[in-house]
C-alpha cells in the first residue's frame, strides 16, 4: 500500500516536473522568438527613418506648422533636481510651448525653490474642470519667463497632478514629462513630426528615454554625454537601450504600441480628455492611459495611431541603489498588472484588432506569466536536476541558449543605437556597455524577476502607494 503510494508520488512528481519544465521552456522560447521578431522589425523601421537634420534645418522645416504644446511636469519632493529640469524645459527649441510644473503637495522645498529661482507670482489663471483632481492651492506664473506656470496642489499622485495639468493647459497637444528628466533642445521638434504628417489620426507619440547618470549637466542641459560610473545605472542603460530601440520601435511599427513612458510622451489633449484623462487608481497611469485610448478608439471605431519616434531624447536620472530600484520595478510590475487586468476583456478579442490579438497576449506572456514562470524555472530546475528528474544535458543547453539569446538581442540593440542614433560617446564606453550586456545575466536579471514577483504580490494585496524615489539631482552627476 505504502509502496504504491510512494510510486504514485514519484510518478506525480515526475509528471509535474515535466509540465513545469515544459512551461518554462515554452514561455522562454516564445519570449525569445518575440524578441527576435522585434529586433528584425525594429531594424527594418530604423533603416527607413530619416537622417537627423541639423537644428537649424529642423526649425525651418517644422516650426511654421508646429502646433502649440504644453509640457506638464508633475513634481513630488523633487527639490534636488527641480530647478535644473525646469531650466531644461524652458530651453526647449519649439515655437509655441508653455511649461506647467505641478507641485503635487511636496513635503520638501520644491515649491520654494521654484518661487525663488523663477520669480513666481500668484496668478488667477482660469481653467475648466474636465479631468478630476485634488484641489489646487495656488497657481503661479513666472515674472521672468511668461511661459512658465507652476501649479501648487494637494498631494494626489502623479496621475492626479497630470490631470490638473491637462485641465489648466490650453494647447491642443500636451507633453507629459517627469520633473527629474531633461529634454534635448530639439526633442519636441522631432517628436511632433507624426502630428504634422497625420494630424487627424495621430493621438499620442512616445520618445526615447536615456539614463542621465554620468552625463555632465549645466543649466538644465546635458552638455556632455557619458556613461554612468556605477554598475546599477549602467545596467539600466543597457535595459533602456534595448527597450526603447527594439521593443517600442517594433511595437509602434506593428501598430501595437501600448506603452508611452510617463517620462516623455506627447498626447492630443482632446483625445486624452475623451477617455477621461489619467486614472488616479493605478501606479501605471502612463500604460493605462494608452490602453484606454486604444480601447476607446477601437470601440468607437475612430481611426487613430499611437506611435513612437526613436530620436527624441529625454534624459532621466536612474536609481543608483538597489532599494530605490527595487521600489521602481515593483511599482512598474504592479502598474502593468493593474492595467492588464483592468482591460482583460480585450485579450484575444478580435473587436479590438491588433491590440486584442497581439498586444494583450504579449502583455500576458511578458508581464503576467513572465516573472512567475522565470522565477519558478530558476528555483525548480536546479532542484529537479539534483533529484535526477531533469536531464542535465538539456537543462544546461537550455540555460546556455537563454543566456546567449539575451546577449544576442542586447548586441542587436547596441548595433541599432550605433548605426542610427550614435549617442554612446566613446569606444571605451561602448566596451563598458558590452561588459554590462554580459554581466546583467548574472544576478541583475534574476533580481529584476524577484522584484517583479514582489510586484505581483503587492498587486494581489492591492497596494496602492508609490514609494519614495530618492534623487541626488543632476548637479551631482559627473
Amino acid at each position: 500500500m505504502l509502496e504504491q503510494l510512494a510510486v504514485r508520488i514519484v510518478q506525480w512528481l515526475d509528471t509535474s516536473a515535466e509540465w513545469v519544465v515544459g512551461l518554462v521552456i515554452v514561455v522562454g522560447v516564445t519570449q525569445n522568438v518575440i524578441s527576435l521578431i522585434q529586433l528584425l522589425v525594429a531594424t527594418h523601421a530604423m533603416r527607413r527613418r530619416s537622417e537627423t537634420e541639423n537644428s537649424e534645418t529642423l526649425w525651418q522645416q517644422r516650426a511654421p506648422s508646429a502646433p502649440p504644446i504644453s509640457m506638464i511636469a508633475p513634481a513630488y519632493n523633487e527639490s534636488a533636481s527641480i530647478v535644473e529640469s525646469t531650466r531644461s524645459m524652458l530651453s526647449i527649441r519649439y515655437p509655441h510651448c508653455e511649461v506647467l510644473i505641478v507641485n503635487d503637495g511636496s513635503k520638501d522645498d520644491t515649491l520654494q525653490k521654484l518661487i525663488d529661482n523663477f520669480a513666481l507670482r500668484p496668478s488667477a489663471r482660469d481653467f475648466e474642470i474636465i479631468t478630476p483632481h485634488k484641489p489646487i492651492r495656488q497657481i503661479y506664473q513666472s515674472r521672468k519667463y511668461p511661459s512658465l506656470i507652476v501649479i501648487d496642489k494637494e498631494n494626489g499622485g502623479k496621475a492626479d497632478a497630470l490631470n490638473a495639468g491637462i485641465n489648466i493647459c490650453r494647447s491642443p497637444l500636451f507633453c507629459s514629462v517627469d520633473a527629474d528628466s531633461m529634454l534635448e533642445a530639439d526633442a519636441l521638434l522631432h517628436a511632433v513630426q507624426p502630428f504634422l504628417s497625420k494630424p487627424d489620426t495621430v493621438i499620442a507619440v512616445g520618445g526615447t528615454i536615456r539614463v542621465a547618470n554620468g552625463c555632465r549637466v549645466r543649466g538644465g542641459k546635458v552638455v556632455s554625454v557619458g556613461l554612468p560610473r556605477d554598475l546599477l545605472p549602467m545596467l539600466q542603460t543597457v535595459e533602456y537601450t534595448r527597450a526603447f530601440l527594439i521593443a517600442r520601435v517594433a511595437m509602434s511599427e506593428l501598430g501595437v504600441l501600448t506603452m508611452i513612458s510617463g517620462a516623455f510622451g506627447i498626447f492630443s489633449r482632446p483625445a486624452a480628455i475623451a477617455v477621461g484623462g489619467y486614472d488616479t487608481n493605478t501606479v501605471g497611469e502612463d500604460y493605462e492611459l494608452v490602453m484606454r485610448m486604444h480601447r476607446y478608439h477601437q470601440e468607437q471605431r475612430i481611426p487613430y495611431e499611437i506611435v513612437t519616434v526613436a530620436e527624441p531624447v529625454c534624459w532621466t536620472e536612474a536609481p543608483n541603489t538597489l532599494r530605490v530600484l527595487s521600489r521602481q520595478r515593483k511599482r512598474w510590475q504592479r502598474g502593468s498588472l493593474e492595467t492588464f487586468f483592468r482591460h482583460i476583456r480585450m485579450l484575444g478579442n478580435p473587436r479590438y484588432g491588433r491590440i486584442g490579438m497581439i498586444a494583450m497576449p504579449f502583455s500576458l506572456l511578458v508581464d503576467v506569466l513572465g516573472p512567475p514562470v522565470e522565477v519558478l524555472g530558476c528555483m525548480l530546475v536546479p532542484v529537479l536536476w539534483i533529484s535526477g528528474l531533469l536531464n542535465p544535458d538539456f537543462a544546461l543547453a537550455f540555460l546556455a541558449l537563454t543566456f546567449v539569446f539575451g546577449v544576442f538581442i542586447s548586441a542587436g540593440s547596441l548595433a541599432l543605437e550605433e548605426i542610427s542614433l550614435h549617442r554612446i560617446p566613446k569606444a571605451k564606453d561602448l566596451l563598458r556597455l558590452i561588459f554590462g550586456i554580459f554581466i546583467e545575466n548574472f544576478g541583475y536579471r534574476q533580481l529584476n524577476n524577484i522584484w517583479r514577483i514582489q510586484g505581483w504580490w503587492e498587486f494581489l494585496r492591492k497596494k496602492k502607494s508609490w514609494g519614495e524615489m530618492t534623487r541626488t539631482g543632476f548637479q551631482s552627476s559627473r
Binding site: Q60, P64, S65, F127, P135, L196, P199, V404, L414, I434
Partner: protein, 378 residues
C-alpha cells in the same frame, strides 16, 4: 542532428554572431573617432577656404574653387555637409556661389539619382535637398517626383518646387497630393500659406472649384490667412458658412488673422453658431479685428455653457481696448463669493491674467481648496 545538438549549435551561432557584432561595433567606433578628429581639422581648413571663396573676386575665387575641388573624398564629404548647412543660413549671390559649388561636387546629381532609390526616406531627403538648385535638370527631376509612390516624397518635391518657383498648375498639384492622401498633413498647410503670399489669385480659383472637397477647403481657408489680397475675403465668408465645422472654424481663424473690418457681419453671425467651437473662434476673431461694437454680444457670451467660449470672449474683450476692458471690469465687479457666476469669474481671471487688474487669491484653506472651481476675489 538531435534536439540537444540543435540547441547547442543555435547557442554557438548566436554567441559568435553577438561577438562579431560587438567587435565590429567597437572597431567601427574607433575608426569613427579617428575620422572625427581628422574631420574637425579638415572642417576648419575648408571653412576658411569657403569663406575666402565667398568673399573673393572671380580670379582668386577660381583658385579657392580649385583648392576645394581637389580635396580627397573624405574632405569632399565634409565640404558638402558644411555647404548645405551654410546654404540654409544665407541668401542671394553667396548662396548661388555655394550651390554652384555643390553642383560641381556632384551633390545635385547624387540627389537626382536618389530620387529613384528604393528607400522612401532617401527619396524624401533627396527631394528636400534639391531645393538648393534651380536648374532645369532639378526642376524636371522634382516634377517627376510628384508622381512618386509615397505621398511624403511628393510633398517634399512640391515644397522644393515652391522654393525654386517651379510649381506646376495648382490643380495638378492638389490632385497629386490628394491621390496619396497627404492633404491633411500640416506641411501642406505651410506650402499653401507660402503660395497664398505669392499667388493669391490661384488660390481663389481653387476655392471656386473646391466643391465638396472639405480637406481642400480647410487647406485653402488656412492659407488665405497669409495673403495680402483682401479679395479672398469673399471666399472666406463662403467657407465661414460651410456645413463642415472644421471649414467654418478655419475660415473664421483666417478672418481674425486678416483683421479686415468688412468681416464683421460674418463674425457677428458666427457668434451665435450652434457649435461652441465656432462661437469660440468667432469671439477670438472679433477681438483680433477690433470689432468694438460687438462688446455687448461678447459680454453675453461670458455666460456661455462652454468654458472655451467664455474664455475666448473674455480674452477678446480684453483685446478690445477701454470699452472691452470696462465691460470685463463691470462683470468682474458683480462677483462676491466663490460660487458666483461663471461669466463674472472668467472676467475677473482674464483681467488678472492680462495684468489689467490685480486680484487677491483667497488666503484661508477652505477657500483655497476650492480654487480648482475657479474662485478668486476681485
Amino acid at each position: 542532428m538531435n534536439l540537444l545538438q540543435f540547441i547547442w549549435w543555435t547557442s554557438l551561432v548566436l554567441a559568435l554572431s553577438s561577438l562579431m557584432v560587438m567587435v565590429v561595433l567597437v572597431l567601427r567606433r574607433m575608426r569613427d573617432e579617428r575620422r572625427a578628429r581628422q574631420e574637425q581639422h579638415v572642417r576648419s581648413v575648408i571653412q576658411k577656404i569657403l569663406f575666402n571663396y565667398m568673399d573673393s573676386d572671380w580670379m582668386s575665387g577660381q583658385k579657392d574653387l580649385n583648392n576645394l575641388m581637389n580635396m580627397n573624398r573624405a574632405a569632399q564629404h565634409v565640404l558638402r555637409k558644411l555647404t548645405i548647412d551654410l546654404c540654409h543660413l544665407i541668401q542671394g549671390q553667396e548662396r548661388q556661389q555655394l550651390t554652384s559649388l555643390l553642383t560641381r561636387s556632384g551633390f545635385r546629381n547624387e540627389c537626382v539619382r536618389d530620387l529613384r532609390s528604393r528607400i522612401v526616406e532617401d527619396r524624401r531627403s533627396a527631394a528636400s535637398a534639391l531645393q538648393l538648385f534651380s536648374d532645369t535638370t532639378t526642376e524636371q527631376a522634382l516634377l517627376a517626383a510628384l508622381d512618386d509612390d509615397d505621398g511624403h516624397v511628393r510633398l517634399a518635391a512640391a515644397s522644393s518646387l515652391k522654393m525654386i518657383n517651379a510649381l506646376p498648375d495648382l490643380r495638378i498639384l492638389i490632385s497629386k497630393l490628394e491621390e496619396k492622401d497627404v492633404l491633411a498633413s500640416r506641411d501642406v498647410r505651410t506650402l499653401f500659406r507660402d503660395m497664398a503670399r505669392r499667388k493669391p489669385l490661384a488660390l481663389r480659383q481653387l476655392a471656386a472649384d473646391s466643391g465638396n472637397d472639405t480637406q481642400l477647403k480647410i487647406v485653402l481657408a488656412d492659407a488665405m490667412s497669409e495673403t495680402s489680397d483682401f479679395r479672398v475675403l469673399e471666399d472666406l465668408y463662403r467657407f465661414a458658412s460651410d456645413d463642415d465645422l472644421d471649414v467654418r472654424t478655419t475660415a473664421l481663424r483666417s478672418l481674425g488673422a486678416l483683421q479686415h473690418p468688412d468681416a464683421s457681419a460674418v463674425v457677428e453671425h458666427s457668434l451665435s453658431d450652434a457649435q461652441w467651437q465656432v462661437r469660440a473662434v468667432a469671439a477670438g476673431a472679433a477681438g483680433q479685428i477690433g470689432l468694438e461694437y460687438l462688446v455687448p454680444q461678447l459680454t453675453r457670451l461670458l455666460d456661455d455653457d462652454s468654458w472655451w467660449v467664455r474664455f475666448r470672449s473674455a480674452e477678446a474683450l480684453s483685446d478690445l481696448g477701454a470699452t472691452g476692458q470696462q465691460a470685463l471690469r463691470e462683470r468682474a465687479a458683480t462677483i462676491n463669493s466663490v460660487n458666483d457666476n461663471a461669466g463674472g469669474r472668467m472676467a475677473a481671471l482674464v483681467l488678472d491674467e492680462h495684468g489689467l487688474h490685480e486680484l487677491v487669491p483667497f488666503a484661508d484653506a477652505d477657500q483655497a481648496a476650492s480654487v480648482s472651481q475657479g474662485p478668486i476675489h476681485a
